[in-house]
C-alpha cells in the first residue's frame, strides 16, 4: 500500500542521515588529526637533521668495513616492515600498501629471497594470514598517534635481527607524506644504511679514512676543523646506525599516520557527500510517492462521490455541497 511505502522511505532517509552524521564526525576528527600529525612530523625534523649531520661527518671517517653501511653483499633473507592502519574507512590506504608489499615479496621470492614480516597496524596480519604468509611480529594501536617509544619498540624488532645477523637487509613499505595533497607508497631500505639516502653523506662512502680528514664532507663546511670522535668513528657508527634506523622508523610511522588521517578524511568526506546525494534522491522519491498517495485518495473520493450521485437524488444534494472543497484539496 502507498502509505507503507512512504513510511519505508522515511525510515531509510533517517538511517542514511545518521550514517551521514557518523561519516561527518569521522571526517572532522581526521581533519584535526592531520594538523597534529603534520606538527609531529615537523617536530621530528631537527632531530633527524642533527643525526644526519653527525652521520655524514662520522661515516667517511670510519675505516673498517661494516655490515651496517653500504650495499649488502648478498641478499637472501629480508626483513620487511609494513606500516598500515588499525582501522578501515580510509579508502585505499590499507589495501594499496598491503598489495605493494605483497608484490615486492613475490618479486623477491622469484629471485630466491625469503621474507620475514613485521607489521604495524591491525589490518596487516589479517591480510597476510589470508594469503598464507606468516607475520613474525604484528604491532597495533600506534598509528593513530605514534610516539617515539612506539617507534623504538618497532625498531628493536627490526634492528635487532639485523645486528644479530639473522637477516641481510631491512626494507620498509609505507605511505610517505609529502604534503596534505600528496602522499605516495614508498619502499625504502632501512638497513644496511645507504649513505646515498643521507643528505650530506652521499658519495663519500666508508673506507676512505685518509681522504676524509683532508676535506670534511657535508655540513662541517669550509671551516675544515678536525673532528674529535669519542669513541672512535668505527665504534660510533655502530651506535649511530641503529639510532638512525630508529629515527627512520619513527619518521615513517609519523608520515604513515598523517597519510592515514588524510586518506580517512578524504574517504569520509566522499561518504558524507554520497549520503547527502542519497538523501536528496530518497526524498524526491518519497515526495512523489506521497503525492501519488494523495492523488489516489482524491481520485477515490471523487469516484465515490460520482458513484453516489448516480445512485439516488437524495444523496445527490448532500454530496454536491461538499464537492468544491474536496476538489481543491
Amino acid at each position: 500500500m502507498a502509505g507503507g511505502q512512504e513510511r519505508e522511505l522515511r525510515r531509510r532517509i533517517r538511517s542514511v542521515e545518521s550514517t551521514k552524521k557518523i561519516t561527518r564526525a569521522f571526517e572532522l576528527i581526521a581533519a584535526s588529526q592531520i594538523v597534529r600529525a603534520q606538527g609531529r612530523i615537523a617536530g621530528a625534523r631537527p632531530y633527524v637533521a642533527g643525526l644526519e649531520r653527525v652521520l655524514a661527518t662520522t661515516a667517511p671517517e670510519a675505516g673498517g668495513t661494516t655490515r651496517l653501511v653500504g650495499a649488502p653483499e648478498h641478499v637472501g633473507r629480508v626483513l620487511l616492515l609494513v606500516v598500515v592502519a588499525d582501522r578501515g574507512l580510509c579508502g585505499g590506504y590499507n589495501s594499496m600498501a598491503l598489495r605493494a608489499a605483497d608484490r615486492l615479496m613475490r618479486a623477491g621470492e622469484a629471485e630466491g629471497r625469503t621474507y620475514r614480516l613485521v607489521t604495524v597496524g591491525r589490518k596487516a596480519p589479517s591480510y597476510f594470514r589470508f594469503r598464507g604468509r606468516a607475520v613474525h611480529h604484528g604491532f597495533s594501536q600506534m598509528t593513530d598517534r605514534p610516539t617515539f617509544a612506539d617507534a623504538r619498540a618497532v625498531a628493536s624488532e627490526v634492528v635487532g635481527p639485523f645486528v644479530a645477523g639473522e637477516v641481510d637487509m631491512v626494507q620498509l613499505v609505507s605511505w610517505r607524506f609529502r604534503s596534505a595533497g600528496i602522499q605516495a607508497i614508498a619502499t625504502r631500505q632501512v638497513l644496511p644504511l645507504s649513505l646515498a639516502d643521507v643528505p650530506g653523506a652521499s658519495g663519500a662512502g666508508h673506507g676512505a679514512g685518509t681522504q676524509g680528514t683532508s676535506g670534511q664532507p657535508g655540513a662541517t663546511g669550509e671551516g675544515g676543523g678536525f673532528y674529535d670522535f669519542e669513541p672512535a668513528p668505527d665504534d660510533l657508527l655502530q651506535l649511530l646506525v641503529p639510532t638512525y634506523a630508529e629515527a627512520v622508523v619513527y619518521q615513517a610511522l609519523l608520515e604513515a599516520s598523517a597519510s592515514e588521517h588524510t586518506a580517512r578524511q578524504r574517504a569520509m568526506s566522499a561518504a558524507t557527500e554520497n549520503a547527502e546525494q542519497f538523501i536528496t534522491t530518497l526524498r524526491r522519491v518519497m515526495n512523489r510517492v506521497r503525492q501519488d498517495a494523495v492523488t489516489t485518495e482524491i481520485m477515490e473520493i471523487v469516484g465515490g462521490a460520482e458513484a453516489l450521485r448516480r445512485s439516488g437524488p437524495r444523496s445527490y444534494v448532500d454530496i454536491d455541497a461538499d464537492q468544491p472543497e474536496e476538489r481543491s484539496a
Binding site: 609531529r40 617536530g43 621530528a44 631537527p46 632531530y47 633527524v48 642533527g50 643525526l51 649531520r53 653527525v54 661527518t57 662520522t58 661494516t66 655490515r67 651496517l68 610516539t147 617515539f148 617507534a151 623504538r152 628493536s156 635487532g160 645486528v163 644479530a164 645477523g165 655540513a219 662541517t220 663546511g221 671551516g223 676543523g225 678536525f226 673532528y227 674529535d228 670522535f229 669519542e230 669513541p231 665504534d235 660510533l236 655502530q238 651506535l239 649511530l240 641503529p242 639510532t243 630508529e246 629515527a247 619513527y250
Partner: protein
C-alpha cells in the same frame, strides 16, 4: 666573562632545551666532559647522563642559580666550532622540572631489587645478539638494545633523580 654559545637538546618528539650557555657538562662513554665556547669540533656518544647547562649571567630566573639540569637517556653530542654550538641528540630527555621523582624512586627500587640476579643473564644475551659485529658493547649500546634490562633501568632512574636534585636511596 665567558662568551656564551648555543645549546640545543633535541629529541625526536620535541626540542627539550634551546638557549645560550656559558658551559655545558655531561658524561660520555669515556668520562666526564665539559664544553666551553668555541670548543673544537667534536662528536661523541652521550651516556645516560645529567647534562648541566650553565646559563650566562646566572640567576636570571632559572633554577639553581643559572644552572639547568636535563636528564638525557643516551644519545649523541655534536659540537660545531664554526657555529659555536653544542647539539645533543637524544631519544629521551627531560628537564629537571618535568621529572616525576616518586616514579623514578620506585623504578630505581624495582630495578635494584631485580638487578643482581638478572644482570649476568642480560649481558649474556646481549653478547649473543650483537656477536662479532659490535666489538665494544658499551653502556649506551646496552641501554639501546636492552632498554628493559634492570641495569639500564636503574641507571635511568639514578640520572632522573640526580637531575631532579633528589637524593637517590642508598
Amino acid at each position: 666573562m665567558a662568551t656564551p654559545f648555543h645549546v640545543e637538546i633535541v629529541t625526536p618528539e620535541r626540542t627539550v632545551y634551546s638557549g645560550e650557555a656559558d658551559e655545558v657538562s655531561m658524561r660520555t662513554d669515556s668520562g666526564e666532559i665539559a664544553f666551553l665556547a668555541h670548543h673544537e669540533d667534536f662528536i661523541g656518544a652521550a651516556d645516560v647522563t645529567v647534562v648541566r647547562v650553565t646559563t650566562p649571567g646566572g640567576g636570571d630566573g632559572t633554577e639553581h642559580g643559572g644552572e639547568v639540569r636535563i636528564a638525557v637517556h643516551g644519545g649523541f653530542v655534536h659540537v660545531d666550532q664554526d657555529e659555536n654550538s653544542v647539539r645533543i641528540l637524544a631519544g629521551v630527555a627531560e628537564l629537571a622540572g618535568e621529572i616525576d621523582v616518586e616514579r623514578a624512586r620506585r623504578a630505581l627500587e624495582a630495578a635494584e631489587a631485580s638487578e643482581v640476579p638478572a644482570t649476568p643473564q642480560a649481558a649474556a644475551t646481549h653478547d649473543a645478539e650483537t656477536g662479532p659485529v659490535v666489538a665494544r658493547p658499551s653502556g649506551s649500546l646496552l641501554a639501546m638494545l636492552e632498554p628493559d634490562a634492570p641495569e639500564a633501568a636503574a641507571r635511568r632512574a639514578r640520572v632522573r633523580l640526580e637531575a631532579a636534585g633528589a637524593a637517590a636511596p642508598t
